[in-house]
């Protein structure tokens, strides 16, 4: 143990565990809101830019989803201009007070352009303040992705191609996940994990346990399954007019089965992390796993919400299925085309799906980081004993 004290003294002041989690003498973990005291990690501005990006991309996905829900993808026939105007010079009166589908489509383009600009700033910031080379390249990847995404959206309009609209929807979520990745790897928590090597970090106890390979695999599978759901959902939303009923039915079935898989994985991961927290507090008082348990809980809640929204989406779009028509109200439910509340439910299902994906990604990244830093910490100890 002592050798560790000598080798790592970077953030000695970080006595309490990361992410505001601390162990009380009684051995239970509590989540305090006060952030850990520690030297400010480098690249704070890059992190802030990443947070801004995340905060902008989610609404962007909402609006993009509304474009599809309202079949407004072709509300503006040209690109990159809007009805011959430069994107930024299109008269705002006709935009704000014109037809609704033009309002959302043009708004989607404007917000997307803004995200592109923030992405440029992000790259600049990264090359100024970020010490890790791969993170700098990650921001470049982000910029390339947002440009590609814009082009894809444009080509979709020019070719009037539904398939490209579907791809555009699928790549949007990858871009969102990339933004969250940048946010995660530039966060204070991320930097603080190195300080876990500090002797006063309560993670070096004899009962120390890190998430095993199994949970990591499960979290990876969760990311894959969540993305598969995105792709399946996009195919349902952008179904071709001549697609066969058999194929569509098959897609719906797969979407439902994968939903159960996603829920099962999320519950399994949360449960496993919870047992880790419990066993840790009993033996060592370390509460670092809480930083994993919290996003895992979030994923579980989001998945439940998402399942509810999915069912509501079906009902809003296709009415109450026969097996669920159990009374006068359910058997007389009327589907309303392009009703506003229903459109929010449908698009909310898209947006929450994106949240499930990025929260799962966030969880996976944290798990990898946590496991990696703790294991590299334990390894010399193990060899020393």
């Amino acid at each position: 143990m002592m050798n560790l004290l000598e080798t790592d003294n970077r953030t000695e002041a970080n006595a309490s565990d990361s992410d505001g989690a601390s162990a009380s003498p009684g051995g239970t973990c509590s989540l305090s809101t006060g952030s850990a005291v520690g030297a400010a990690p480098p690249g704070r501005w890059l992190h802030r830019a990443a947070v801004v990006l995340v905060a902008m991309v989610w609404p962007l996905i909402w609006i993009g989803g509304q474009v599809t829900t309202y079949a407004a993808g072709m509300a503006v026939p040209d690109w990159p201009g809007t009805y011959g105007y430069n994107l930024f010079l299109y008269p705002y009166q006709t935009w704000l007070f014109g037809p609704f589908d033009l309002f959302i489509e043009h708004g989607h383009r404007l917000l997307a352009a803004l995200v592109g600009m923030v992405a440029i700033v992000t790259v600049a910031l990264a090359w100024l303040v970020e010490p890790r080379r791969w993170v700098r390249w990650l921001t470049v990847l982000l910029l390339v992705a947002v440009i590609g995404q814009g082009l894809l959206g444009g080509v979709r309009v020019i070719l009037a191609a539904r398939t490209l609209a579907m791809l555009h929807g699928c790549t949007a979520e990858i871009f969102f996940a990339l933004c969250v990745t940048l946010m995660a790897v530039t966060s204070r928590w991320w930097w603080q994990q190195d300080s876990a090597k500090s002797p006063r970090a309560p993670t070096n106890g004899p009962g120390e346990r890190v998430p095993g390979r199994g949970v990591i695999v499960a979290a990876s599978a969760l990311v894959v399954a969540a993305y598969l759901q995105v792709v399946l959902g996009a195919q349902l939303r952008h179904v071709q007019p001549t697609a066969s009923p058999g194929g569509f039915t098959h897609l719906v079935a797969t979407h439902l089965v994968t939903a159960v898989v996603v829920l099962g994985l999320a519950l399994g991961i949360a449960w496993r992390l919870w047992t880790l927290v419990r066993s840790r507090t009993e033996t060592s008082g370390g509460c670092g796993v809480l930083a994993l348990l919290k996003p895992a809980w979030l994923v579980v809640s989001l998945v439940w919400l998402q399942i509810g929204l999915g069912l509501a989406t079906w009902v809003s779009r296709y009415g109450v299925p026969t097996f669920a028509q159990v009374g006068p109200r359910s058997s007389s439910y009327l589907v309303k085309s392009q009703a506003f509340v229903e459109s929010l439910i449908i698009t909310g299902h898209v947006a929450t799906g994106a949240l499930v994906l990025v929260t799962a990604t966030f969880l996976l990244l944290r798990m990898l980081r946590f496991r990696h830093t703790r294991l590299s910490l334990l390894a010399p100890t193990a060899s020393g004993t």
Binding site: M74, P99, T163, I174, Q240, T242, S331, Q338, L368
Partner: protein
């Protein structure tokens, strides 16, 4: 750095995640292979030739999904107001877009195609998951209307359907859509139905008269439906017959027969109650015998096994049981899995054709076209095989009393 490798791995595997490809073609209406199979079935011959030749002929008359055309005879039809308006048709057809003023185009594809299919065949992508199945417009049979059982609906009927939708099914209300859009949809709906029915009649005629479907089939251009390079048929005689078929279908849309509804009696509250009691008697009695299908007090408990006409067409009417494996051939040609039709549970209210007294009166005297729901025979005098108009009103009173929770207005009572 292991993490960066992870990132690369994920990015790559996620990118490969989507299947790519192009839009499926919408440049042609799919031919009615299902009905071609049905008419060829007794001859157990080749159905593809009939469906292809008739499909081309129909295309020369009606155009394509992206640019529909109206045959001259149809354009000229209608006294005063034409049956179809080319501009409205253009708005409803083609790919989805909208212009700067918010005028929508491709409305059918934006709103309807996912269930009703490109050609109105009721075989859209989401069709198999609907109950009842989305309507196949091509046979020209409509359930909810103010006209006689065999008649076409009026424009008003279709208008009402689009505004109110059909509660309890996937059929939405388009009340929020601009009125122009709904009008355009009505034109397109009539267009699809006429187009589909002409195609069906041509198929039947080509098999019965021209020898399509038989092994040798029509041999010379003179008696086949293959179009010449000029876009015409080889023989004037054939062209005349095609025109006649077109005329018959168009005529049926021009002159739908309305069902007359007599003035309802005026009842006070106690008279209304006794009318409902008499109606209940009739409902369960031998004359109307509604309970045999709808169950005691319309609770839907009666066990029945029947199918709608769209299903019967390729099953029982061909002597094929709906469970027969041969049905798979028809399903491959564009039919959905046969699903029994169940008489509705009436105690929950929600009459799809309308809960107002007039609609219910019509429902009871006409029945529901395309389904086993029969119409009552109305006679002026009581006794015998029919019911009197007053007895029908009794039944209406009973139906409305059944669904106390339903938002149905009571029959006009004198207050």
């Amino acid at each position: 750095m292991p993490l960066s490798r992870h990132l690369v791995f994920w990015s790559l595997s996620l990118l490969i995640g989507w299947g790519s490809g192009c839009d499926s073609p919408t440049d042609r209406f799919p031919p009615n292979e299902l009905f071609a199979r049905v008419v060829v079935h007794p001859f157990s011959g080749e159905f593809e030739r009939a469906s292809t030749d008739v499909g081309r002929l129909v295309e020369s008359l009606f155009g394509t999904p992206d640019s529909p055309s109206i045959p001259d005879r149809l354009l000229a039809a209608g006294d005063g107001e034409p049956l179809l308006d080319p501009q409205r048709l253009a708005r409803a057809s083609g790919p989805v877009s909208s212009d700067r003023e918010g005028l929508n185009f491709g409305i059918y594809r934006a709103q309807c195609v996912v269930c009703h299919g490109l050609s109105g065949d009721g075989f859209g992508p989401a069709a198999a998951l609907q109950n009842p199945y989305p309507r196949d417009f091509r046979s020209g049979v409509f359930k909810y209307k103010s006209t006689t059982r065999g008649s076409k609906p009026t424009r008003d009927d279709l208008r009402r359907l689009l505004v109110h939708g059909i509660p309890g099914t996937g059929m939405p209300s388009f009340a929020r859509q601009p009125e122009d859009d709904r009008e355009a949809l009505i034109d397109y709906l009539i267009y699809l139905s006429i187009r589909g029915e002409v195609e069906r009649r041509l198929l039947a005629w080509s098999v019965e008269e021209l020898g399509y479907g038989e092994a040798d089939g029509p041999t010379s251009a003179e008696d086949s439906l293959v179009l010449l390079d000029s876009g015409r048929l080889a023989s004037d005689e054939l062209a005349e017959q095609v025109d006649e078929i077109l005329e018959q279908v168009v005529d049926s849309w021009l002159r739908p027969e309305p069902v007359a509804v007599p003035t309802p009696p005026t009842w006070d509250v106690s008279e209304l109650a006794s009318a409902a009691a008499r109606g209940r008697e009739l409902f369960h009695g031998p004359l109307a015998n509604c309970a045999s299908c709808h169950g005691t007090d319309g609770d839907g408990s009666a066990v029945t096994l029947d199918f709608d006409d769209w299903t019967k067409e390729f099953t029982t009417r061909l002597g094929v049981a709906p469970s027969d494996p041969i049905v798979r051939d028809f399903r491959r040609a564009g039919a959905l899995r046969p699903r029994p039709i169940s008489p509705r549970k009436l105690s929950w209210g929600n009459f799809r054709g309308g809960s107002d007294p007039d609609s219910l009166y019509r429902l009871l005297t006409v029945g529901i076209a395309g389904t086993p729901m029969p119409g009552l025979l109305v006679t002026a005098e009581p006794g015998g095989v029919g019911v009197t108009p007053d007895q029908v009103w009794d039944l209406v009173a009973y139906l409305q009393s059944l669904s106390a929770d339903a938002p149905a207005p009571a029959p006009r009572s004198a207050e």
